[in-house]
C-alpha cells in the first residue's frame, strides 16, 4: 500500500503506539478520537479492533475522545467514523497483531508462517506456545509506523455480525451521561444568556443574587454573566434573580424571517459554480421544467440540554464535554482563554444524541470561564432547554431552485441547481474560535464571517449533484455569510435540502414525462448498487406504478447516495393526508458496503428516517428579526410516538466492499419520499418545508384561486 492510500487519521498519527497499548495485562487498549454520539460508533470500532487483534470484545478497552491519550482525529462527523476512523483502527490493530506475531516468532526461534494468535495467546503450529500478547508486547518497539501494508485478518467472529451496543445496557439501567458526573467539591454553574443575538447588557443589579443561599461567585464580563453555587437548585434560583436584575438593549436585524424563498436570494452572497458536461443548446422539442424548494432553519433539539464541566488546578484546565471534537475544542479553548494547548486536557463523556454542532462546545467554555473564577473546584454548567433551543447553532435555511429539460424520449437533458444557503461548518477550532461565551465576554472574540465555495467542504452543496447519469449538470452555490443567527453543522448539512429538492424535482420530471417515478429513476441509473436499493425498496413496499393520484393516501420514493460517496439509500413512504399529513409506513433499502454491525446500521437508518419525517412534517426554528422564538418543546415541536411510522429496513450486505457511513444517509431520501407521497396523495406539490396542514391549505387555496 502506498503512503497516499493511508487514511487521514493514520497520516496525521502515524505511530503505532498512538493507537494501541498492551501495557495493562489481559487487555488491549485501543485509542480513537471518534466518540459515541448515540450512533453506536464505540461498539463498531471495538468490534473492528477485537476482530483484527483476534481478541474477544471483553479484552478490548476502547479509549475514545481524550486529548491526553488519543490520536488527534479532529471531529466525529460526516458519517466518516467507520470509513476513516474504523479503517485506521483496523490498520493499526493489524499492524499490532503482526508486530506481536513477528516478535513471538523471534522469541520462539520459529518461522513466522508457523505463528498465529487467538484470544491473546500466541500459537505455534496452532497450539499454545506458552507465550501471550502481553509477554511479547513488552519486547516490541511500539514506536513504529502504521504502514497500512499488513493484510486484514478475514472477518470471522465479529465484523459483519450484529453485536449489542456496549453502552446501551448502562443507559437502560439509569447510568451513562456527562450530566451525571460528580467531582469532589463540584459547584453548579449557570450562565445568563442575552435575550437575543446582538443584545447588549446595559446594567446588572446583582445584589439580590449575591445575598442568596449557596452563591459562591458571580462573574460578569461584557455581555457574559455567570453564577456558581454549592447546590444546583440554588444556581437555578440565583440565575432567576440575575435575569430579573439585568437590563438589555436589543436590536432588530432588519431581517424578515418569513418566506425564505424571497429572503435568501435577496441577501448578499458569495457565489461559486461548477458545470459538468455540455449543455445541449436547448434540444429541439425538449420540455423545460423549473421549480424552487425551501427548507427552514432547524434546531438540533437534543433531548438533553448541553452540559460542560471544568476544573482549574495549578493553572491547568481539565474539561469534560460531549463535544464532537475534543482536539479542535482544546485548541479553541486555548485561544479563548489565553492558555497553551499543553495546559488543557479535554475529555469526552457521552451526552444525549448529537446531530451536529450543538451547544456542547459552548457549554464547555462556559464551565471553563466560571471554573477560572474558583480555582481548585470543578464547575458543572447545565444549559436550560431555552438555552439549547435558542443558542445552539441552527441548521441553515436553504432555497434550492432547479431548472431541467427532458427530451421527447423522456431522458433528462439539462440540469441546473441553484442553491442559497448559510454556512454549515462553523465549529470551534484554533483558527476560528466560534464559541458563544467568547463572543460575549470583554474583550469579545466575535464569530468570524463564514462562507463556502463549491468543493469537498461546501456543506451547502452537499448532494446537490444528482447521482443519476446526466449528460449535463450545473451547480451554483450562493453562500450567505450574513444570516442574522448562527448556523452550523446539523446532520447531513445541505444534503437534506438538496436531496429533498433533487428527488422532488425528479418526480416532477417523471410526471412531465408521464413516467412512473421508480422506472424514471432506473432509466437514469447504471450504477448497479443504486439500482438495487431502488428496486429493493420498491419490492418491499409493493410499489404500484399505476397508483391513483389525489386520493389522500399515497406512496412516494426518494433515493440518494449520501455525499455521492457513502451509503446508498432508497426510501418509500406511505402518507395519509387527513387533518395533518402523516407518514403511516416506510420501507427502506440500504447498501453500506461491509456493515460492521448490521443491527447498528439498521438502527441508525431507522432513526434517520424518523428524524427526517419529524423535520419534514413539523419542524421550523422561528426567528422574528430579533429573537429566536422557538424556545421550548411547545414552540419547537418534534415527532411524537403517535406520529411515528411502522418501519421496514432491508440491509444489502456487501462483505467485499469497504464500509460506508450511514448516520446521515437516510434523511434526504426520507424527506423526498414523504414530499413525493404528499404530492401524489394530493395531486398537488408542496415545495416548502415543513409540509404542515397550514401549508397544504395555503397551497390548495393558491391553486384554486383565479
Amino acid at each position: 500500500m502506498t503512503e497516499q492510500r493511508l487514511p487521514w487519521s493514520i497520516h496525521e498519527n502515524p505511530s503505532l503506539d498512538q493507537w494501541v497499548d498492551f501495557s495493562r495485562s489481559g487487555v488491549a487498549r485501543v485509542f480513537s478520537a471518534k466518540v459515541e454520539l448515540g450512533q453506536g460508533i464505540v461498539t463498531a470500532i471495538a468490534q473492528i479492533a477485537a476482530e483484527e487483534l483476534r481478541l474477544p470484545m471483553s479484552q478490548v478497552v476502547l479509549v475514545s475522545g481524550d486529548t491526553r491519550y488519543c490520536p488527534n482525529e479532529s471531529y466525529t462527523v460526516g458519517s466518516m467514523s467507520i470509513e476513516i476512523g474504523g479503517t485506521s483502527v483496523r490498520m493499526a490493530c493489524a499492524e499490532a497483531r503482526h508486530a506481536l506475531v513477528e516478535q513471538a516468532a523471534r522469541l520462539l526461534k520459529a518461522d513466522l508462517s508457523r505463528i498465529t494468535a487467538e484470544g491473546g495467546l500466541i500459537l505455534l503450529d496452532g497450539k499454545p506456545s506458552g507465550l501471550d500478547y502481553w509477554q511479547v508486547a513488552a519486547q516490541v518497539d511500539w514506536k513504529r509506523p502504521v504502514t497500512g501494508a499488513i493484510a486484514f485478518t478475514p472477518p470471522q467472529a465479529l465484523i459483519g455480525r450484529s453485536v449489542a451496543r456496549l453502552d446501551l445496557r448502562s443507559k437502560i439501567a439509569g447510568g451513562g451521561f456527562i450530566h451525571d458526573l460528580e467531582m469532589p467539591g463540584m459547584l453548579h454553574g449557570r450562565v445568563l444568556r442575552p435575550p437575543s443575538y446582538g443584545a447588549r447588557l446595559q446594567s446588572l443589579n446583582r445584589s439580590r443574587a449575591e445575598a442568596m443561599a449557596g452563591v459562591v461567585n458571580i462573574w460578569c464580563s461584557g455581555d457574559f454573566v455567570g453564577v456558581c453555587c454549592e447546590r444546583e437548585y440554588q444556581a437555578v434560583k440565583a440565575l432567576e434573580a440575575l435575569r430579573a436584575g439585568a437590563h438589555w438593549l436589543e436590536s432588530e436585524t432588519g431581517h424578515d424571517a418569513r418566506g425564505w424563498k424571497e429572503l435568501l436570494p435577496s441577501l448578499r452572497s458569495i457565489d461559486s459554480e461548477a458545470e459538468v458536461g455540455a449543455c445541449p443548446a436547448s434540444a429541439a422539442g425538449a420540455h423545460r421544467v423549473s421549480a424552487a424548494y425551501s427548507k427552514p432553519p432547524l434546531a438540533h433539539a437534543s433531548m438533553a440540554p448541553s452540559c460542560g464541566i471544568a476544573s482549574f488546578d495549578d493553572n491547568r484546565l481539565t474539561v469534560w464535554t460531549h463535544s464532537q471534537g475534543v482536539f479542535p475544542l482544546r485548541d479553541a479553548l486555548a485561544v479563548a482563554l489565553g492558555l497553551t494547548r499543553e495546559q488543557i486536557a479535554v475529555i469526552h463523556v457521552q451526552g444525549a444524541g448529537v446531530y451536529g454542532h450543538n451547544g456542547a462546545d459552548d457549554a464547555a467554555l462556559d464551565a471553563a470561564l466560571l471554573a477560572r473564577q474558583v480555582p481548585g473546584r470543578a464547575v458543572r454548567v447545565q444549559w436550560s432547554r431555552d438555552d439549547e433551543l435558542a443558542w445552539s447553532p441552527l441548521g441553515s435555511p436553504m432555497v434550492v431552485k432547479i431548472d431541467g429539460a427532458i427530451t421527447p424520449a423522456g431522458k433528462i437533458a439539462e440540469w441546473t441547481a441553484e442553491i442559497w444557503s448559510g454556512p454549515h461548518g462553523r465549529r470551534p477550532s484554533r483558527g476560528a474560535v466560534n464559541l458563544l461565551g467568547a463572543s460575549h465576554v470583554d474583550p469579545p472574540i466575535p464569530f468570524p464571517e463564514s462562507y463556502e465555495m463549491l468543493g469537498a467542504f461546501a456543506g451547502g452543496a452537499r448532494n446537490s449533484e444528482p447521482a443519476y447519469d446526466l449528460p449535463h449538470r450545473r451547480i451554483v452555490l450562493h453562500s450567505l455569510p450574513g444570516l442574522p443567527f448562527r448556523t452550523s453543522s446539523l446532520r447531513t448539512l445541505g444534503g437534506y435540502a438538496n436531496v429533498f429538492a433533487t428527488e422532488s424535482f425528479i418526480d416532477e420530471l417523471a410526471l412531465a414525462a408521464g413516467a412512473d417515478p421508480v422506472e424514471f429513476r432506473l432509466r437514469h441509473l447504471t450504477d448497479p448498487r443504486a439500482r438495487q436499493v431502488i428496486e429493493t425498496a420498491a419490492r418491499l413496499s409493493q410499489w404500484r406504478p399505476d397508483a391513483e393520484r389525489g386520493t389522500g393516501r399515497a406512496r412516494g420514493i426518494g433515493f440518494c447516495r449520501y455525499k455521492n460517496t457513502a451509503a446508498y439509500v432508497a426510501v418509500v413512504a406511505e402518507v395519509k393526508v387527513q387533518m395533518e399529513p402523516r407518514v403511516t409506513r416506510a420501507w427502506c433499502a440500504v447498501d453500506a458496503g461491509l456493515a460492521i454491525n448490521p443491527d447498528g446500521v439498521v438502527n441508525q437508518i431507522e432513526g434517520g428516517i424518523v428524524q427526517s419525517i419529524s423535520w419534514t412534517l413539523k419542524e421550523e426554528a422561528g426567528f422574528d428579526g430579533c429573537r429566536v422564538t422557538t424556545r421550548n418543546w411547545d414552540e419547537y415541536r418534534i415527532l411524537r410516538f403517535s406520529e411515528a411510522p411502522e418501519l421496514k429496513v432491508e440491509l444489502i450486505q456487501r462483505p467485499d466492499c469497504p464500509p460506508l457511513g450511514v448516520g446521515e444517509a437516510a434523511q434526504g431520501p426520507a424527506a423526498a419520499a414523504v414530499a413525493n407521497a404528499v404530492a401524489r396523495a394530493l395531486d398537488l406539490r408542496i415545495r416548502d418545508l415543513p409540509i404542515t396542514r397550514a401549508r397544504i391549505i395555503a397551497a390548495t387555496a393558491g391553486e384554486t384561486s383565479p
Binding site: 454520539l37 448515540g38 449489542a164 451496543r165 453502552d167 446501551l168 445496557r169 448502562s170 443507559k171 437502560i172 439501567a173 439509569g174 447510568g175 451513562g176 451521561f177 450530566h179 451525571d180 460528580e182 443561599a213 449557596g214 447546590r231 444546583e232 437548585y233 440554588q234 434560583k237 433539539a301 437534543s302 433531548m303 438533553a304 440540554p305 457521552q350 451526552g351 444525549a352 444524541g353 448529537v354 446531530y355 436550560s384 432547554r385 443491527d599 438502527n603 441508525q604 431507522e606 432513526g607 434517520g608 428516517i609 424518523v610 428524524q611 419529524s614 421550548n632 418543546w633 411547545d634 418534534i638 415527532l639 411524537r640 410516538f641 403517535s642 411515528a644 411510522p645 411502522e646 418501519l647
Partner: protein, 169 residues
C-alpha cells in the same frame, strides 16, 4: 426557606433539607440521593425524561415540589432492576429494551421505561394503541420510536401471559 422533608424513595426513607420550598423532586433525586438515572430534559414537564413513579403513577419530577410527594412512595429507574453493574439483573421491561436494542442515545429511556411500567402494572390486556397513547407526552429525538414500542409490547405480552397462567398456544 430551609425546610426538611421525609421522602420514601425505592423503599428507603430519607430526610432531606431544601433551600427553597419549590425545589423540584428531580434535583433531590439526582444530587442529594445520587439517583442520576432520572434525567433533566426541559424542566417544564414537556419531554418526560424525568418521569418517576409516585404511588405507581408516572409523574414528571422536574415539576413536582418536594413537599408535594412527602409520604408517598417514589420509584426511580434505579429502583426497578438491580442497578448498573453488568451482572445486576434488569427488570423484565429493561431487558426487553436491551433485547430489542431499543434506543440510540438512550437519554429518553428512563422516563419512557417508567411511563411504560405504570401502564403494564395497571394490568390491562396488552395494546399497542395504549402504549402509543401512554408515550405521547414522552419525546425521543433519535427516532428509536418503533423499537421502543416493540420492546414495551413484548414485555407487556410476557407479563400478561404470566398473569393469565402462562399458557399461550
Amino acid at each position: 426557606m430551609g425546610t426538611t422533608h421525609t421522602l420514601r424513595v425505592n423503599g428507603k426513607r430519607h430526610e432531606l433539607a431544601v433551600d427553597y420550598d419549590d425545589t423540584p423532586l428531580l434535583y433531590m433525586l439526582r444530587n442529594d440521593l445520587g439517583l442520576k438515572g432520572t434525567r433533566f430534559g426541559c424542566g417544564e414537564g414537556n419531554c418526560g425524561a424525568c418521569a418517576v413513579l409516585i404511588d405507581g403513577r408516572a409523574q414528571r419530577s422536574c415539576e413536582l415540589p418536594v413537599w408535594s410527594v412527602e409520604g408517598k412512595s417514589i420509584t426511580t429507574i434505579e429502583g426497578i432492576g438491580e442497578g448498573l453493574g453488568a451482572s445486576g439483573r434488569l427488570h423484565p421491561l429493561q431487558q426487553a429494551f436491551l433485547d430489542f436494542q431499543a434506543g440510540q442515545c438512550g437519554y429518553c429511556l428512563s422516563g419512557i421505561i417508567m411511563t411504560a411500567l405504570e401502564l403494564i402494572e395497571l394490568g390491562g390486556e396488552p395494546s399497542r394503541q395504549k402504549i402509543v397513547e401512554a408515550l405521547d407526552r414522552n419525546l425521543c429525538r433519535c427516532g428509536a420510536h418503533a423499537r421502543i414500542i416493540a420492546a414495551i409490547e413484548a414485555a407487556w405480552k410476557k407479563s400478561w401471559d404470566e398473569v393469565m397462567g402462562g399458557s399461550t398456544p
